[in-house]
Amino acid sequence: MDLSFTKEEMEFRDEVRAYLADNLPERISDAVRRGGELTKEMMEEWHAILQRKGWLATIWPKEYGGPGWTPVQRHIFEEECCRAYAPRIVPFGLNMLGPVLIKFGTEEQKAEILPRILDATDWWCQGYSEPGAGSDLASLKTRAVRDGDEWVINGQKTWTTLGQHANKIFCLCRTDPDAKQQEGISFILVDLDTPGIEMRPIKLIEGGHEVNEVFFTDVRVPYGNLVGEENKGWTIAKYLLTHERTGIAGVGFSMQSLEEVKALARKVKRGGKRLIDDPLFAARIAQAEVDLEAMKITNLRMLFKAQEMGAPGPETSILKIKGTVIHQELKDLARRALGPVAAPFPGYLAEGNIMFGPDGTEHNAARYFNNRKTSIFGGSNEIQRNILSKAALEL
């Protein structure tokens, strides 16, 4: 048993920390700290800064332009990015499609598409969920029918995150309606400029525009846009989900949130006393801190196991369940700490130049509501329990 990083890993951490200190523009880290929406330009600027150093496609092997990091190095990198309030890397091309193409794509697909992800020529989005296929993803109905050298796609995708910035979408489509649910699905790449596609924004609970729905009406794309074998798309979907689960504990984000809540509770007063001296509030912070401290070790244990076994096991679902609940609790505390001052809709008071509450807290209520999503997306926490029940407990 040894919980410390090696000397090389510590040097790597210092290198990451120094690069972030020198290259992350304050304008961007400030926007992340405040918690509002980032512009497309900010996200692309940050990607370009990382790509300059070769640190953008963190899970790609070296030969395709990745840094060739170990899982521990990736963990250190993610932690440092959180610590510095760097934007989260937009995952759809880099962490989802990239690994899928590297594993299942043809040489032509890899040669054509991967470089365009790295240099930001393409912005990919994800066409998985449908109105009738959420947790039960395999019941998806969007149909792709082969017509000569083309696929003809009809149907609807939803919850397409940042689709408003994208020019491409990867989709799961039903290609054999007679096969068993999981066996008639294919993974198909679609250019969003293709006629017959309409993308509509979905306004979220806090008023933000983060996700979209995408409608497909007789959309024709080349047959060669198929990734992997026809009707084997479910294998790819499952492979992709395992990648989606790395970093799923969100420990770095929770550490950020914990520090914010502590700082806020030291600043905010209640009846002349600091909020942090209120035992009821302090008890909730302390409880979350204990849970997070345990989570850090659980995360490292899973990372260690993934490194030893070559792949993360079903226990990573524990990270999803616990990690999201801890983060949501911290977001609740950040909202509560402000009391009624959390209520003004973000933007209104700033326009009148009236500041309520401590600087940088104007989105605390919005962030609380927005973060209710984390226990739902990426396989809801109930689905994670099903996975654990079957795979870990064999119930």
Binding site: L3, Q287, E289, E293, A294, S389, A392
Partner: protein, 356 residues
């Protein structure tokens, strides 16, 4: 980073688990645990021969371990078997004697059984508010007052006792024969004693011993947390197995999603509890040992009670019987919260750090 046990610790863990599984099964354990002296001298000697006590002290103090991980390996095995033998006193005493550079060979061989008397009725977790008092008497001291919940005290040969000396907590050695010892079995098995001191002869070990006491408590907490992790693992395994065997409405009750999810929630809490115990063990000799011990004890208190209550509920009536092992695991898991500081006490210590 490495979460595997070293070869030596793996071997110790294996041999303790094998020994306790063979020689200290729950039926035997229940015979020993609930009646005085709550102790099986033959098994105690054999556990000592396996090295369980030597693992509690570092090499320069005559042992072969002494780190948080050595302690947790031993106590996780004890927890799996619900072993009632008085090792908590041994680990805390070994810690104190090591700090003082005192001889502890007879502790490590098992020849002398130690108990550590810190608690009082109105000061159960903390030297603050302690009443027991020491007075100089010739070249030694005498102690007066009552120490409570002295784990293993019912069979101890020697007590290490905390008492106030010149307004500060100090540590003394008291021979069992010199004090009035009222032993009793506990609700969750194993024994303890009330130690009644009335001008009782004592040898001063350390003046101004706050830091030494805290260190012994930290080590005791690591031991209790590891014990709980072992007991929770077994409780969970028995429960999951029962869900697969027990049929109602014509199907194994494991088919009901409401029970599946609860079994998963138990697993999640156990893994979190294991993580924080690993953390506390790794920090035991560091500057923040007390803080991480408090975090661990807080989380273990919550997790252990959940596992105990859920195990009973998911079993149904059978877990309410004395005959079925879960009832004994559940009692241990619930009651160990009150040893060396409960969930709320340790949360308040973490809160005190926050306010700083």
């Amino acid at each position: 980073m490495d979460f595997n046990l070293t070869e030596d610790r793996r071997m110790l863990s294996d041999s303790l688990n094998r020994y306790l599984g063979d020689k200290y099964p729950v039926e035997h354990r229940n015979k020993v645990a609930y009646d005085l002296p709550c102790h099986d001298p033959e098994k105690w000697d054999e556990i000592a021969e396996l090295g369980a006590l030597f693992a509690l002290a570092p090499e320069d103090a005559g042992g072969f371990g002494g780190t948080g991980f050595d302690i947790s390996v031993v106590f996780e095995a004890l927890g799996r078997a619900l072993c009632p033998e008085p090792l908590l006193g041994a680990v805390m005493a070994a810690r104190i004697l090591t700090k003082l550079g005192a001889d502890q060979e007879s502790l490590l061989t098992g020849a002398t059984k130690y108990a550590v008397a810190l608690a009082e009725v109105d000061a159960p977790y903390d030297p603050a508010g302690m009443d027991c008092e020491a007075k100089a008497s010739g070249d030694s001291h005498v102690l007066s007052g009552r120490k409570t919940s002295v784990y293993g005290g019912q069979v101890a040969d020697v007590f290490i006792v905390a008492a106030m000396l010149d307004g500060k907590p100090a540590l003394f050695e008291v021979q069992a024969g010199d004090a009035q010892v009222v032993g009793y079995p506990m609700m969750d098995g194993g024994g303890a004693a009330e130690l009644l001191l009335d001008g009782t002869k004592a040898t001063l070990l350390a003046e101004d011993a706050g830091a030494i006491i805290q260190d012994a408590v930290n080590a005791g907490i690591v031991a209790l947390c590891a014990e709980a992790v072992g007991a929770m693992d077994v409780t969970h395994a028995i429960t999951v197995d029962y869900l697969k065997q027990r049929k109602q409405f014509g199907v194994p009750i494991a088919k009901f999603q409401v029970l599946q999810h609860r079994a998963v929630d138990m697993l999640t809490e156990i893994e979190q509890a294991r993580s924080i115990t690993i953390k506390a063990a790794s920090e035991l000799d560091g500057p923040d040992a007390a803080r991480f011990a408090s975090m661990a004890k807080n989380m273990i208190g919550r997790a252990a009670r959940l596992i105990a209550e859920e195990a009973i509920q998911m079993h149904g009536g059978i877990a309410m019987t004395w005959e079925y092992p879960i009832s004994h695991y559940a009692k241990r898991l619930v009651m160990l919260d009150a040893q060396l500081g409960d969930t709320d006490y340790h949360l308040s210590r973490i809160m005190a750090d926050l306010a700083a």
